[in-house]
């Protein structure tokens, strides 16, 4: 499976990374190089193999329903590039 420039553009848009037109050919060839190399996995017989999703334990640990956090608006907002009072601010969004 190799990527055409339209796919590179679409993937970049999904990932929200701006790609200039003149960057496309190089990016396309790099990504195709990596994908071509990854392709060798198709040779492995994985019939009946359960996929391994996580790195470790088999079972989620649950915590008790208690309020132990929050009430730190100032800390949460302290690193914000733009804020308005107690809100984060972004360019106006049209839904």
């Amino acid at each position: 499976m190799s990527l055409d420039t339209a796919t590179v553009r679409r993937v970049a848009s999904l990932a929200r990374i701006r790609v200039e037109e003149d960057e496309l050919p190089r990016l396309q060839s790099e990504l195709n190089g990596i994908l071509g190399w990854i392709e060798q996995l198709q040779a492995v017989n994985t019939d009946g193999v359960q996929p391994m999703a996580g790195g470790g334990s088999e079972k989620l640990r649950m915590r008790e329903d208690r309020v132990t956090d929050g009430g730190i608006a100032e800390k949460v907002l302290a690193n914000a590039p733009d804020r308005a009072g107690e809100f984060f601010a972004v360019p106006k969004v049209v839904e």
Partner: protein, 483 residues
């Protein structure tokens, strides 16, 4: 008669499925220890986890899982002992992590079913496809500034249950009845407060139209409809739009739309352009959710009685009419109130008083069952006073009115106002003698055959007794004396 909409080319059937997002009732969020309370100051109920800070990790809240299991049990659904959380990836200003933790491939609850009641008295089974747990996003405020949107993350990370129905609904009425029933079940279970104004319950409405006998056509999803009435309106508006599209010879495009409540139409939603590619994958921060069957059983044994079972019991055991049983079981609080009133008393009489004068009193005084000035114990006490002939029905109504005004117990009001019914035979005889003496001519007429004058004597006696005479005794004694 099945519901159809008329287009230029004839009748169209409407196919509806609902995805309901119900906020789980819990103290803390699904994956963080921040509070879930409604209406707090912006960003005051936000942990670094909810704000998607670097290195923050989710840890699941056991109560949220328990609530999902309870809901699954209430929907007669399959409880999956093994489920998993996936990441749904998309960018949005109020989605701090850039993904929503949800359950895609393996939801905690599988197939279930609920019964809805329609206005013609019929019922219909509606399939539940699944229920899964997921995080809510934050809130964007678009109307605070001319060029900016403001973001409040208080809701970010609050647990939601997404409850997906089968496309079994065929009319706005059915959609409304389904949502009403679902809300009722959630409120009975105590797993969601069902408050649609505060956004605790929102519906995404999937609508398509078709000609009779066809398979499904392309559907559109109308997002975030926040009242039962709007759901019903949105179904019709969207169905009419699709009919126009088809009839114009065009194709309906599968997309996400918004319902404009002021104009009563749906419109395409720009911010969902990546909706076709969420890149779901298992969340590597969260091992699988594995439940013990014994725990599920424990939760099951702690479930309250649900509305359907309760209604059946009211009709079967108490002899109530299906209508009264329905009205009394609509809200969990009403049913509990009724059962307290009916305990150890005549259940039918209790039902009459609760659905009649008591509901009327609530309406008149602008109260709900939750803040009723008349407690169930006091209403029961009132019924006891009728039963032991302390009060006549008419007096009881007066006492109830006074109870609404003062919140006092009925006995206290009876005492204060001297409303006690007179059951002393001698006292009643004395009054009747006086009435007969004053109306000797009427007595003669009665005795000569004008029997309809009996009502006149009852009225005069009661009037003289200020309504406190026991009606049955007044009748009996009058009959003897007039004979």
């Amino acid at each position: 008669m099945s519901y159809t909409l008329e287009g230029e080319t004839g009748a169209w059937e409407v196919v509806i499925g609902l995805e309901v997002h119900a906020q789980v009732t819990s103290l803390a969020k699904l994956f963080s220890g921040a509070a879930t309370e409604f209406g707090a100051d912006p960003n005051s109920q936000v942990s670094f986890i909810d704000a998607g800070f670097p290195g923050m990790l989710p840890v699941i809240n056991k109560e949220c899982v328990a609530q999902a299991v309870r809901t699954g049990l209430g929907l007669n659904a399959q409880i999956n002992l093994w489920s998993r959380f996936d990441r749904k990836n998309y960018f949005y200003a109020d989605l701090p992590q850039g993904y929503q933790i949800s359950q895609f491939e393996f939801p905690i609850i599988g197939k279930g079913e609920i019964e809805i009641e329609l206005s013609d008295g019929s019922t219909k089974q509606i399939g539940i496809t699944r229920l899964h747990l997921e995080q809510d996003a934050g809130k964007s405020l678009h109307d605070q500034h001319p060029t900016k949107s403001y973001i409040d993350l208080n809701r970010s990370g609050v647990a939601l249950m997404e409850i997906v129905s089968e496309p079994d609904l065929r009319s706005p009425e059915e959609a409304g009845a389904y949502l009403t029933k679902l809300r009722q079940i959630l409120r009975y279970l105590g797993t969601c407060d069902g408050n649609m104004e505060q956004g605790s319950l929102r519906a995404d409405v999937n609508v398509s139209v078709r000609k009779a006998g066809e398979g499904f056509r392309t559907r559109c999803e109308v997002k975030n409809v926040n009242s039962i009435r709007f759901v019903m309106q949105a179904v019709e508006a969207e169905a009419r739009r699709q009919i126009e599209v088809w009839e114009a010879g065009e194709e309906v495009v599968q997309e996400t739309r918004l319902f404009d409540t002021s104009r009563g139409v749906t419109r395409s939603m720009r911010s969902k352009e990546d909706a076709h590619d969420y890149r779901y994958f298992p969340d590597p921060d969260l091992p699988p959710l594995v439940l013990e069957q014994a725990w599920v059983e424990e939760l099951k044994s702690g479930l309250p009685e649900l509305p359907d079972a309760r209604r059946t019991r009211y009709v079967g055991d108490f002899g109530l009419t299906p209508y009264d049983a329905h009205v009394l079981t609509l809200e969990k609080e009403t049913a509990a109130f009724y059962e307290t009133v009916a305990a150890g008393r005549d259940p039918k009489m209790a039902a009459n008083w609760v659905t009649g004068d008591f509901f009327a009193g609530l309406n008149r005084t602008g109260h709900g069952i939750g803040d009723s000035p008349v407690s169930a114990e006091n209403l029961g006490g009132l019924l006891d006073l009728i039963k032991d002939n302390t009060l006549s029905g008419k007096l009881a109504k007066e006492v109830l009115e006074a109870m609404f005004e003062t919140g006092k117990a009925p006995a206290e009001i009876v005492e204060e106002r001297g409303l006690k019914q007179v059951t002393d035979t001698g006292a009643i005889e004395k009054i009747i003698d006086e009435v007969m003496a004053k109306n000797a001519d009427k007595v003669a007429e009665y005795r000569s055959g004008k029997e309809k004058l009996f009502g006149f004597f009852v009225g005069q006696t009661m009037k003289a007794m200020q309504g406190k005479g026991n009606p049955a005794m007044v009748n009996d004694i009058l009959k003897q004396k007039l004979a």
